[in-house]
């Protein structure tokens, strides 16, 4: 056990570099691949031109290619990376807090809260007021559920109460979402919007979405990184952690806040992207060990690469637009089962 952790630690710098390079490669691929038929060289040249401060081209034909690469592909790829990183880190934080490898950010109910607020906005036609409305409403929904979770389970109760309250709130939000859909079942345009949003998508996301998500995601990532030592100590058990000076209630509160900010931000800008928060920390734990100093940044890097690649793949085949949230679940579920079958015993050991 100790030897394997030392080996994992030795692999860590190389693994970090490898994952960072993978993310850069995935981003490069994302800006040269797409149904718009832009030559990879043209795409890279246009981005280089923009990066040195050039404005939009004046020639209409070049401006169209510039719009495809600079206004559609690049912000979409960067947003996918941000969302992937946020979900990967949120997953690691949630599993660390609950000391349970089956926990995923959805158990806090935050993504369901974001979803119910977005669906309410669609039902009332508020989304027509601007592209910012749905992300803003989702953020309000995520914050609302977070406050409800803290009010119900707060820091005075144990982890189990927190988990159950999160599950109950998620179920309540799902029921409210279904109720709104049922009451408007004859409005096919509403159904179309809701289903597309719930499937998760980066379609039509712009620099504005990226700018809106950057600050809260950075806050969540930094707060998560700050908690790494306490989360490591927490793995020894609540009593041991307390005896070692960990202020359990504060760690619990900050971890919930960080994970909720990360998941709420992701859901607000991209809808529901499943399985990333569950599977990515598992893979990283197998490669680099359970320590949160490594687990958190590497989960961010792997989550970012995974979501960028999935989104690029969804645009690469044919003229249909496939929702990345569906692809992550289609890939993630069998992969997760394979990991459980292959490494089940080792995972049990790590999680003890």
């Amino acid at each position: 056990m100790i030897a394997s952790h030392h080996a994992a630690r030795a692999r860590h710098p190389a693994l970090g570099t490898l994952l960072a390079l993978s993310l850069l490669a995935a981003l490069a691929l994302a800006v040269v691949v797409g149904p718009g038929g832009v030559a990879p060289r043209d795409a890279l040249q246009l981005i280089a031109r923009r990066l040195v401060g050039a404005g939009p081209p004046t020639d209409p034909d070049v401006a169209l290619v510039d719009a495809i690469v600079w206004s559609l592909r690049l912000p979409r790829a960067l947003l996918a990376a941000l969302v992937g990183a946020a979900l990967g880190v949120a997953g690691a934080l949630t599993q660390g807090l609950f000391r349970n490898p089956m926990a995923e950010p959805g158990v806090l109910g935050v993504s369901s809260g974001a979803a119910v607020a977005a669906v309410l906005g669609f039902s009332l036609g508020l989304d027509a007021l601007g592209l910012w409305v749905t992300p803003a409403l989702s953020a309000v929904g995520a914050i609302g559920i977070l406050l409800a979770l803290l009010a119900l389970a707060g820091t005075r109760h144990g982890i189990a109460t927190l988990l159950l309250a999160g599950v109950a709130l998620a179920a309540l939000c799902s029921a409210l979402t279904t109720l709104m859909l049922a009451l408007a079942s004859e409005r096919w345009d509403l159904g179309l919007k809701v289903v597309r949003w719930l499937m998760g998508s980066f379609e039509g996301r712009s620099w504005d979405h990226l700018a809106g998500a950057l600050a809260p995601a950075a806050l969540g990532l930094l707060a998560g990184a700050w908690l790494r030592r306490d989360l490591d100590t927490l793995q020894l058990g609540a009593d041991t952690a307390r005896s070692l000076g960990v202020r359990l209630e504060r760690v619990q509160l900050l971890t919930i806040l960080s994970a909720a900010i990360l998941v709420g931000t992701s859901t607000a800008v991209a809808g529901v992207i499943g399985f990333v928060g569950l599977i990515v920390p598992h893979v990283v734990r197998m490669l680099a060990g359970p320590g949160h100093r490594r687990l958190l940044p590497l989960s961010g890097l792997l989550g970012a690469s995974l979501v960028v690649l999935v989104d690029t793949g969804s645009r690469a085949f044919g003229d249909r637009s496939l929702p990345p949230g569906v692809i992550t679940s289609l890939l993630g579920a069998p992969f997760f089962l394979w990991i459980l079958r292959r490494h089940g015993r080792r995972l049990d050991h790590l999680d003890r």
């Binding site: 169209l64 379609e203 039509g204």
Partner: protein, 302 residues
């Protein structure tokens, strides 16, 4: 017909077989003879589709008086062409078979997407249904009007309705602007290809449907990038709040789309949803609106 609790087992079995046979029988055949037309003229009617709400109204007072229910969308301005026209006494029903059964309609017009269970339940309880399937443009409209009119015993009114529709189309088709300009419809990433009412509307208004030219049939979700790369001269969107003009302006500023010819040259056209998505007479209004905004009719730049 039903067996009493004291009926001997054999009689009870026979009754059950008879009930099962009755339940398995399909809806009554469409009337063909004049006697059957007379029967059809006496039937009460219920509508559970927005198209039949519209057609039953258009068939005239004799048919309207026999309508016992219309769909819950009949007063929804997003889809219906007969908003607030049906009297308040006619209930708006949202496909609940219990409420429909209570009205005992002689015929209920449902759509192919109405739940199969609800349709089967209506049939089993002697409330026959007519299923309107296929809403892919002008030809389907004519067929549905013919079917609804025949089952309502108002074939002549139905023929007149179709003739009026075709007359207006013929009038609009005169002097169709040339050359045909490429356009696409767009709503939440979904575009309309061949075999859609929008396709027929676009062609009748003097446009080429770019989605159909790319072998897209029906409605399909595509990526924004692909649509932008087609660089259409006209993009047709549904009007949203607060106004059609505001929808056009907002769409023309969307990232990526702002570089298309449509956005640069004023070719983003927002149509009221009850015209854009109509499978009835709203299609004529859509053709009229699109013809009025055809790029060839724009005054040349000074």
């Amino acid at each position: 017909m039903t067996s009493s609790p004291t009926a001997p087992p054999r009689r009870r079995g026979a009754a059950l077989v008879a009930l099962a046979l009755l339940a398995c029988s399909g809806p009554p055949r469409a009337p063909a003879s004049s006697d059957e037309e007379a029967v059809a003229r006496g039937r009460t009617l219920a509508s559970q589709t927005v198209l039949s709400d519209e057609v039953l109204w258009e068939l005239g007072p004799a048919v309207r008086d026999r309508v016992v229910a219309v769909s819950v969308m009949a007063d929804d301005p997003r889809y219906s062409a007969v908003v607030d026209r049906w009297p308040e006494a006619v209930p708006r029903l949202a496909g609940t078979s219990e409420a429909l059964l209570a009205l005992k309609p002689g015929y209920t017009f449902v759509a192919s997407f109405t739940s199969a269970e609800a349709r089967a339940l209506l049939d089993r309880h002697g409330a026959p249904t007519h299923v309107l399937d296929g809403f892919t443009g002008f030809a389907d409209y004519r067929r549905h009007v013919g079917d609804i009119a025949r089952l309502a015993g108002a074939e002549q009114a139905g023929r007149a309705l179709v003739e009026r529709f075709d007359g207006e189309l013929a009038r609009l088709s005169r002097d169709v602007p040339t050359p045909a300009v490429g356009l696409v419809s767009y709503n939440e990433g979904v575009i309309a290809g061949r075999d859609t009412s929008f396709h027929d509307v676009a062609l009748a208004a003097g446009f080429r449907n770019i989605a159909a030219e790319h072998e897209i049939t029906g409605h399909r979700s595509i990526s924004d990038e692909l649509l932008v790369s087609w660089d259409p001269a006209v993009i047709v969107i549904p009007c949203g709040p607060p106004s059609c003009d505001a929808s056009e302006r907002a769409f023309a500023q969307r990232p990526g789309f702002s570089a298309t010819r449509a956005a640069r040259e004023g070719g983003v056209i927002a149509l009221p949803p009850d015209n854009l998505y109509s499978v009835g007479r709203g299609m004529i209004a859509a053709v009229t609106a699109l013809r009025r905004r055809h790029p060839s009719l724009r005054s040349p730049a000074p």
